[in-house]
């Protein structure tokens, strides 16, 4: 049993956990911004009529969705140096998370855009708007609301996925737990503590999702 559970060691390692937590937060935030950019570009490519952009975008999205993040991470980690890019682990990690989540975000945005009723597009066509005007004035503002909740869901997934970066020795939260587990041979203290920190982030983001959906709900009273 856990009769030897040592809160003192946890307290002793608290600065390490704190640093890991902070790293996890900002690297996730950065990756999420990166993923948004990747997602928007992919989605724009995917919505084109011509195959030239659409086919590569679709292939990329399918390839990402059909393979594990860990394999993608190793692909970049072991593969980039071969192409002459010797990057710090942290950068490789952020790159992998952005490229991975970007594929999912592209699909979220696409679903948001396609959820706009046909009549909305027809009404804007009938009033003589160009494609760009239609998108900017009618479709995207409405799609934006629809995509916020699933985007926050993707943010939660991304934070959890970032734990895998510990496997290429990025000093984030899970790595802190691993250090405690291996230095002192206290896996319970190490992993239960980081689990608690992840739950903190999870409930934080979940709360944010709740707030945003209430906010969108009141805005939705207009729809």
């Amino acid at each position: 049993m856990l009769e030897n559970f040592s809160f003192r060691t946890i307290v002793e390692y608290l600065p390490l956990f704190g640093q890991g937590l902070i790293t996890t937060v900002w690297l996730s935030a950065l990756s999420f911004v990166g993923a948004l950019i990747v997602g928007i570009v992919l989605c724009a490519m995917n919505l084109q009529r011509g195959w030239l952009f659409r086919v590569p975008a679709k292939a990329y999205i399918d390839a990402v969705r059909a393979t594990p993040l860990l394999a993608q991470l190793y692909f970049l980690y072991f593969g980039l140096p071969r192409l002459g890019f010797v990057l710090p682990e942290l950068v490789v990690g952020i790159l992998a998370l952005s490229l991975n989540s970007g594929a999912y975000i592209a699909e979220i945005i696409r679903a948001g855009i396609l959820s706009i009723p046909r009549g909305q597009v027809e009404a804007s066509v009938a009033s003589g708007m160009t494609y760009v005007q239609r998108m900017r004035l009618v479709v995207l503002p409405q799609a934006f609301k629809v995509t916020i909740p699933p985007l926050l869901g993707q943010a939660i997934v991304l934070v959890k996925d970032s734990a895998l970066l510990s496997l290429i020795s990025v000093a984030e939260l899970t790595r802190a737990g691993q250090l405690l587990a291996s230095d002192r041979f206290m896996p319970a203290e190490g992993f239960l503590t980081i689990a608690a920190f992840y739950l903190l982030l999870y409930y934080g983001l979940k709360g944010l999702a709740g707030v945003s959906s209430r906010w969108l709900g009141t805005a939705g009273a207009r729809t």
Binding site: G79, A188, F191, A195
Partner: protein, 224 residues
Amino acid sequence: MIWQQLQSLAGSYPLALRGLGMTVMLSLISLVLGTLLGFGLGILRTGGNQLISGLIGAWVDLIRGTPFLVQIFLIFFILPEFGIELDAFTAGIIALTNLAACFICEIVVAGIRSVPTGQVEAALASGLSRWQRMRQVVLPQAMRIVLPPLVGQYVLLIKDSSVVSAIGLTDLTRVGWLVVQRVPNGLLVFFLVGVGYFIVCYPLIMLARRLEQRMGAAHGEVQL
């Protein structure tokens, strides 16, 4: 040089097959167990007993709120402290089954809740027992909602199985990791690893999409 690498890779062929076999085995076992457990939990969760429902909900939240890697570490390193000795394979199966069960539970709950109350009332009125109502009326209708995300969940499960390589199980990802130590061409090695997963996952992704379209058409909804 590439030629040598390819030769060396070809030599890893049996290892790769074993890795793929391990991935498929892990996924398959935990997929079956997780589905059974997930349906059970889902039905219990909607069963009306507040305590049971609350406990399941809390557990599901704990699992959804923590990284799978951390869950594996907890199971592999901490259960032994309770006197339960686990090999990596069993630990992997337990972790994956639990993960799958929790996500499938949520999918099943959403499906059951989508069935109109009038259906349950009609079944009640015709004197069906609780189990009969579930078995004959609710679940068959819930399946239309459940099936597409369920298949999608299987894809996630197969991909998540790669994380058990962290506790030393020689699955497909671990094979890549081993091979890349010997053949220093990460692009090629992990491209091939990716192909392995793709072959298993992509048909399931296509199936999920097909199901989604079919179910959408059956409901007369606009699907994406």
